[in-house]
Amino acid sequence: MSSPKRAFAAGARDISPIILGVIPFALIAGISAVGVGLSELEALGMSYIVFAGASQLAAVDLVGRHAPVAVIVLTALVINLRFCMYSASLAPHFHGLPLHWRAPLAYLLTDQAYAISITAFGNGRMRHKHWYYLGAAMTMWVTWQTGTAAGVFLGAAIPKSWSLDFAIPLTFLALLFPAIKDRPSLVAAASAGALALAGHGLPYNLGLFLAALGGIGAGALADGGKHHAP
């Protein structure tokens, strides 16, 4: 990766296939926000301010069900707690960058930008990592905002029978297999999946977060023996 410009372009290119799975999600986020009675400006504002699909959908759903403000905020934040793990995972790669770089990079952090970048960073040494990440994350941001806006203005023209929301888990599925590199990571994925099913009924969507923690712990345990000091 010889120049910042090329690193930016590579990030944008690598994230593009994933983004096809994001478009229906963005459309649904826009459509559902208007659907529960948010104004067009409020629906767009939500997408710019929060910029996190699953939590936006949950918040909109709770607004529609007249949930108390504290429950709406708490639920959305619990769903987004996973970003804390991405933040920790990416931090070493943004080592030494000034604050005016790191703050926007943090705002742009998504499942997709994380998955693409951490995969690329794992393949040996790369220069201009922050430009690669910015290329991927900005592409995601523009797609998300355009898709949400289209959803807001198109309204509920798309029939529910198209099941476009199914594209989201399919996107994550395509990213999961490259993440399973060895036996410990397989143990992590299998444990997290089983725990997510078991904890599905927990309030505030805590199941997802606890399942992820459990999977990480199981992976570390399976990995345990190998790395201890000789």
Partner: protein, 107 residues
Amino acid sequence: MRLDSSTLWLTMAGIGAGTFLIRFSFIWLLGRGQVRPAVQRVLRFVPASVLSALILPSFVLPQHAAFSLGNERMWAGLIAAIVAWRTRNVLLTIGAGMAALWVLTNA
């Protein structure tokens, strides 16, 4: 009656500020330091764990329904999983899963 507009904007500001702080947390704190190797070894299990936890309930218990063998999303997900495993191709995986769901739902 939904939330009045100013309460709604405050709610969104709360979610936005909290979400930003979560995203910024380690990028901010560790920007000048190093993550210890022991922590990095644990963090390498984050992608597989989070992705799997996001996926399985959407396939097996969609829309908070109970487990059912007649659930088309589970079978479509299984077909997509085989495609993802064999091809490692994002577009083929999404295409196969969506096509399988449409065929199974309309069959």
